[in-house]
Symmetry: D2
Subunit: 435 residues, 4 copies
């Protein structure tokens, strides 16, 4: 997470101020429950909310205490007690620092998820708008970077829409996975704290109680969360790569918006480069890489060790802030993407008629030619187009073996572009529920 690739709303989730506020709320809600159970005085719980709730925590001061205690939660509690006064001794009763840390992390990750879900919704909206705009914009479909058969630019965007819809669903699952609360005390036995406290705090924070924690919330949950972010990042890379390809000088079927005053190169003033999608490609690599330490974090020793902590202090902010930025940047790229339908047609016709080779193949087999022979016939004419720049239709019409199997009119009919787009509506209905 570096300022260059960060947005303030997501960054705020990870600030010390936010963290301390969440810690306070966890402790204070726990006090409410403890007071209800008669473990601590009701008046104390009230005082804690009033004095602690009004406190402005001093990050520097807390850091100062931590330098002595070498324990962050103890440092915070010591600082908090200065505001609360003698009733502070009722705070954290029977709890362990992981109760606070892990539940806080759950709150932060669910908030981060909510922003990411909104990001995906924004991207989906942009993709849908542009997909319908270009539903009928014919372009060549490519496999292996080689012209295959016609499709439409709208279908390309529909594919991205479907992919990010899946990503959304995965993120919903991942959010559910990490949205648990643990207030179960040392080694998770509830020896010193009643399970009711956990239920109460969970409810107040919009989480579910962790069925069985071992002092910590088990890290398979977080592994699933961060690997899911890695998969979403990979989908971003896919769409970014598509745009980078389309903007290549020789292709130029689409282009990132180039703003007035923008400079593409310090040396070459003619340059207009797909720098945003290249940047997204790199950011995707980063988010993906965070999946690994998250998975390595799962095998904590016995009931818990603290090796996961340094990892999460880094990837918690890094993964969510970077993905938020990337989703938002991608949305803006899609929203403002310059699309060049004329170039799409020009490119498709570069090798004249070649994209219709399959239809001729199928027609030949339908006319009784074996698949192997039909393939050979079509391929030998197609190669002349590749190698000598010939016109495919003309070559076919001049090939006796072809014309003896298929009448000329039938051959010509196979070069109809509309044939390839007749199911675009079907696809749109499947993806968007409408066409």
């Amino acid at each position: 997470m570096i300022p260059r690739y960060s947005r303030p709303e997501m960054v705020a989730i990870w600030s010390p101020e936010t963290r301390f506020r969440i810690w306070f709320e966890i402790e204070a809600y726990a006090c409410d429950a403890l007071a209800e159970l008669g473990v601590i005085p009701k008046e104390a719980a009230k005082t804690i909310w009033e004095k602690g709730g009004a406190a402005k925590f001093d990050v520097e001061a807390i850091d100062e205490i931590e330098r002595v205690t070498k324990h962050d939660v103890i440092a915070f509690l010591t600082h908090l007690s200065e505001f609360v006064g003698p009733d502070a001794r009722f705070i954290h009763q029977g709890m362990t620092s992981s109760d606070v840390l892990d539940t806080c992390f759950a709150v932060q990750l669910t908030r981060a998820s909510d922003i990411l879900l909104a990001d995906i919704d924004g991207l989906l909206a942009a993709l849908k708008r542009r997909a319908f705009e270009h539903k009928d914009t014919v372009t060549v479909g490519r496999s292996h970077g080689i012209h295959a058969e016609p499709t439409t630019f709208g279908v390309k965007l529909a594919q991205a829409y479907a992919e990010f819809s899946r990503c959304r669903e995965r993120l919903v699952h991942a959010r559910e996975d990490i949205a648990t609360c643990a207030i179960s005390g040392a080694v998770g036995t509830f020896a010193n704290i009643d399970p009711y406290v956990e239920e109460h705090v969970a409810k107040k924070l919009g989480l579910k109680p962790e069925p069985v924690s071992t002092q910590v919330i088990p890290r398979d949950r977080h592994a699933m969360f961060f690997t899911t972010l890695g998969v979403i990042a990979s989908s971003i890379e896919r769409l970014a790569t598509e745009i980078r390809h389309l903007q290549r000088t020789e292709v130029l079927e689409a282009e990132e918006y180039f703003s007035p005053g923008q400079k593409g190169s310090s040396a070459m003033p003619h340059k207009r480069n797909p720098v945003l999608t290249e940047n997204l490609t790199g950011l995707a690599r980063m988010v993906r890489s965070f999946a690994l330490p998250a998975m390595e974090n799962v095998a904590l020793w016995h009931e818990r060790d603290i090796s996961h902590s340094s990892v999460e202090r880094m990837i918690g902010p890094d993964a969510t802030v970077t993905l938020d930025f990337a989703l938002s940047r991608l949305t803006s790229v899609i929203d403002r993407l310059l699309v060049y339908p004329d170039n799409m047609l020009k490119n498709m016709n570069k090798f004249r008629g070649l994209v219709h080779s399959q239809r001729v193949l199928l027609a030949l087999t339908q006319a009784g030619v074996s698949r192997e022979d039909a393939y050979r016939l079509v391929q030998r004419n197609a190669m002349k187009v590749w190698e000598q720049g010939a016109d495919f239709l003309e070559e076919l019409l001049a090939d006796r073996e072809v014309t003896s199997a298929l009448p000329e009119a039938d051959i010509r009919e196979k070069f109809d572009l509309g044939y390839h787009t007749k199911h675009v509506d079907t696809i749109f209905k499947r993806v968007f529920g409408e066409a």
Copy 2:
């Protein structure tokens, strides 16, 4: 995937014979639908099932053809046509090889998932049985590898049970994600094949139609699948690590079953090593590593390229076969685990009474001592136990500052073991629905 770490049922899914059989079925089901639509003769579809269904595909012969065509599906179709005869020209009409390959991969991965789900069920059963067996077997809970507070061995196993229940649910999601069928032709436009064919084949094979494919089934699905396997592997590593720790010479609270005739070391005949769980740790590293190329596979170029193929030819079998083997091995380890409750108690009492330090701390704060002072009082007595092997209770009773705050009887009461296990039933009910 190497024989040493493979089980036959999972290996069979990935054999050439199985693959060709699935390819055949995809083609034959597609022919049924094409015949229904009147695209090919009904009789042809029947012949294809009869002659192709009875054929014994010759893997060597197909490989031989591929050496010329450099295309696996074409090689197969050529071979198939030798069995089917002239009607073979009706096979693969309007389809592209990815329709066959990707749908086949989906069938293989769903079958693999079913085996893995059964594996997890077996593991869950073993964990549940041993958890209830040791529900009340008291053992020390450890954080940072250091004694913390008492828990039971059953609670440890309940934690593993809960973790693998989550893994099961994740695998169900992952299975759903890859269980789609694409029969959409070149670049996925259905230009040469009616969407009905896809629906028919999907239904017959227990898959869902891919809403929008681009010749290939999008690889974000597979990325999610293989990262999910990586997370499951990480959970295996966690449990394996726990057992390795428990078997350490100084701990020896549990031990892998050591069979008659087994030798632990070529040099040292006294050795009994946790080799199975160490092996599981290594296997987990492998399964986890496959998540990466799976994520890198997502960003195929344009409608598709073939870079994913070599990766999937390797990780398809490797990840599923290795995980199947690992789950099965772990189940057997749990099933036959030797558990030593006496050693558990002996270890817990190594530092006499130390595990009760929190209770004394809480009692002091309840008695009006500030949290900071209480901590200091308890810590100074605890350190004597660590450093000089003293008895914690005796030290506390000899500490005037402590006894002036708490009567002796109260202090003694804090050393009751039962206090720590009183919520084991609650935990079991949460995890197993029963206690």
Copy 3:
């Protein structure tokens, strides 16, 4: 490692037969040294070489013994003793199985390295030949996939040559790193075996003695080895990606050789796809992924655990076999690459004159225009070329602000192609030592 992507010479290194032969040699060389030291009878060492050396080890039989002992080296020694007779008891004196396993692994990895080094040499030769062939073949250099300035195809290949020269040097380092021999007995103390034995065996096998082993050869060595393979794989991916780009339909400046009889697509007979380089891209992903478990293997517990073993049984063969295949395939791609200089020129001139924008910029600044103004002047004319297909030179000549700063002849002179290739010889001399 799957047959499809394997070459026999490398596969042979990893066969059980090879492994058992190396094990035998390690034991027999150790016996020579032990006999020299008087620990075992000279006659016994002789018998071991004679009878063991002539033995044909039965892999199945050894596996059968292992099923009982659950220990591979013990199974082998038991089998070996059947050939050697009573003198077999002198084998493995004071050694531990890791001495055999780790030293054998070192022998296998050094042999694998030698093949890989030869592979790289082959690739370098191909790159050099084609680089000199196309030293003066002008083509456009591209940054961001966008035309930048002219270069030559030979320079592109020189870059690849330099990169693989570095890879070669890295592999030499990596080979050195793993070429050590450990015969140090249990926990590496030489308690039961004199260090001389290690020195002797190391010398015979072309290895260096491991300065301090802990029963195992430390795994940081292997981590360095496999990460180095991952970097080499990444360089393969770079060159493969370049070729994939050059073969795109709209670019078509180079093309993988397409053999007679080859079929590019089951559906579209016109297709010629860069399937080899796409395949290399996927293989690179695999080799790269093996770096991870290799790094995770480093932190073995205490003197050693066996978690590394399952990983190495898989990645030892997988990484070396796959990389060998990939290097060989890449060499063949380069050797037979079809290069289209005419298309290179045609592409370069697609946006007429645009590639000369920097020279005009520099000339303007040289003529006294500020950098900011010069940039603005050049950019505004360049944009007309991008957007309206104008001719860059004509636009400049029609721009008063430009011509007032630079005489027409000077502007025209900036469009000289030769200007860009004047240092090609310098570059070739740096890379190849000749031009």
Copy 4:
């Protein structure tokens, strides 16, 4: 990189101020060479050094310009020109922004390497000191976490010393790999800038000229650099894991220094946890993860794309700062490690005499018993020690089959501890060159 895990000297390398200063120096040195070549006025070069060298670059102002130009180097040059005045137009002549960025990155990485090398030297010194201190401190060697045979604590540290010596050498190689300078202009052809400029700047900055760049310095160099850091991090993890094991409550052979005032747990005042080495374990996971995007960065498109940039803006600082912090923390842990030789002996004798099993095995084979029988005899007595807590020597002496092969005195002699440490000097000489 987060403040918690950062040290100021390394952080300073990555500050905007440092970066802009290096950019300036690259530009100014290039001007010197250009002036020498007569391309720009000598006076201009002098002015640039004087006015630019005295300038205090305003990071905020530069960022402001970048928001318009969307190009960081152009923003900097614009800002610089305000200080330099009209001569600023001679800056950056014939250069491209990558010349500045990549050469600057090389300078930053070499400076970072120098700090890391000093860190390793510090760690080596600490390891050596403690190794000699504990050269003869007998402790049990463990394989699989199970007691094996005696060794000394000094030998353990010697192993770590040897490992970090290798890491040091690898880092020297890695530093060399990235210490190159590219001043070759757009697409690296030197069209607009003489190779002499590159040579001059390289020399001034302590770098070597990049033999052939393609506008960018090839990223295989950086991949090798960051993977090397990943391997070093893995070695840190190994040593950290060893200490975590030794500090386990049941082992307690060594312990991280616990400072006065430190608190191990908010709930349990008795706790002393190995939090520093656990923290190092997590940091190692992070540094290791950065190897991946670094390898994915290699395959830039054509002469270059900018996808590597966002990755490097993150991992450049993150990897070096985190590794610097980790090495320094590990050094401090080793320096102050509390070592408990008494506990080491107590642990070794936990299973009475078991660690001598191999010697008895060897003695039996020497006495003519077959290896298989000897193994059986020793194992059956050893198992009584494991399972019933018997004394190994007594059991052997009571076993007729054993005593009939070996006289009692011979058996007793096998229990001599000194036998195992007789080669410690040899090992120390190998590792440290002295003993």
